[in-house]
């Protein structure tokens, strides 16, 4: 339950779901088989998403239209990941995941002071962009979405990683939407927090049907996450975007090293 609370807090803070912390903890730290750790983690990702996305949508930061478009590839890939995971050697997945997270961490670190918002709210946000009230500038800001093919590709990759490793795909999606596609950090995290739940739901029933979800362990982790994600939301509203980016880069670096060591 404590692991769930910690994972939920960090997951909500960064909009990435807690799975990226919970899977290594349950698998490496507690010695559970990877399929069980992944099954439990998917449940906590859905729980984080349900708590965080309801609040983010209410605050108008979620780009639902963009999210649903990206969700098509993410869900399809998550379903595929959930089906084929039993046939993939885990070492290959670890190396892939380690490389991707390392690259994304470097991108985040190189863009700590870059902002994607346009302060004039009358400017057309384009077909997939949006507007939201930004606390930091104290007014409504506009953003446009660039490089849609990149966003679609990353979402599909994130979906596959979610379905096969049981972590929320947000760990890939948030930095990609922010750094490559021009979506402000808060809007990217809010949109991703909605998407990770749906993505997890595209493979969680398969894990459940295989018997990879231990109900008591999953319940303890989910209850921990439900508490932790509220704490994360509270902190997230008060932290600066720059620090959120720095924290995410550090988390990604740690995840990258963990998975590289596991592949060894």
């Amino acid at each position: 339950m404590g692991a769930g609370a910690g994972a939920g807090c960090l997951g909500a803070l960064l909009g990435i779901g807690g799975g990226v912390f919970l899977v290594p903890f349950l698998h490496v730290g507690s010695g559970l088989p990877l399929n069980i750790a992944s099954g439990i983690s998917l449940m906590t990702v859905i729980a984080t998403s349900s708590v965080v996305s309801a609040e983010s949508v209410r605050r108008g930061m979620t780009n639902l239209r963009l999210g649903m478009l990206l969700q098509v590839g993410a869900s399809a890939a998550a379903l595929a990941g959930g089906i084929v995971v039993t046939a993939i050697p885990h070492a290959i997945l670890y190396v892939m995941f380690s490389s991707v997270t390392a690259v994304v961490a470097l991108i985040m670190l190189s863009r700590l002071d870059r902002r994607n918002v346009i302060l004039d709210p009358t400017i057309d946000p384009g077909p997939f962009g949006g507007r939201f009230y930004e606390d930091e500038s104290g007014r409504e800001v506009t953003y446009r979405v660039r490089r849609m093919p990149a966003a679609l590709t990353v979402s599909a990759v994130a979906g596959f990683v979610s379905g096969s490793l049981g972590i929320g795909g947000g760990v890939l999606q948030v930095p990609a939407l922010n750094a490559w596609c021009g979506v402000p950090m808060r809007a990217a995290a809010a949109t991703s927090s909605l998407m990770i739940g749906v993505t997890a739901a595209a493979s969680a029933p398969i894990y459940y049907a295989r018997g990879d979800v231990s109900p008591p362990l999953a319940a303890a982790a989910v209850l921990g996450v439900l508490v932790g994600s509220r704490v994360g939301l509270w902190i997230g509203e008060r932290a600066k975007a720059k620090w959120l980016k720095l924290l995410m880069a550090l988390v990604l670096a740690a995840v990258s090293i963990t998975y590289l060591l596991k592949a060894w």
Binding site: A54, R65, L79, A201, P205, Y208, P215
Partner: protein, 103 residues
């Protein structure tokens, strides 16, 4: 993109958020009571409540998508509607595969 201005998206989103909150509470109640009963004596009721909580949890994103279909339909936004319906179909395929695995 053609958007139906008469449809109050914000109010509908608020309704969805409320429903998600209710779903979250039902799930939490099932999981807490199930976990307590299971820890006390490993009862069958406790196990069933745990399962009910987890199934409610997995159903929530699907419910969210179904409500988003209604939202995109009422907004008359075809791309949004097509994407949401496709996502719902994928979730349906997941469920069918899970049933086949579980048998």
């Amino acid at each position: 993109m053609v958007i139906n201005q008469t449809f109050d998206v914000v109010a509908f989103e608020r309704l969805i958020a409320k429903l998600m909150q209710v779903g979250g509470r039902i799930c939490a109640v099932c999981l807490v009571s199930g976990l307590v009963l299971w820890m006390i004596g490993g009862s069958a009721l406790g196990w069933r409540l745990l399962q009910a909580g987890l199934i409610t949890l997995m159903a929530m994103p699907a419910l969210r998508i179904c409500l988003t279909i209604v939202e995109s339909f009422r907004m008359k936004d075809r791309l949004f509607l097509a994407a949401t319906v496709t996502v719902a179909l994928i979730l349906g395929a997941t469920l069918l595969y899970a049933f086949a695995v579980g048998r």
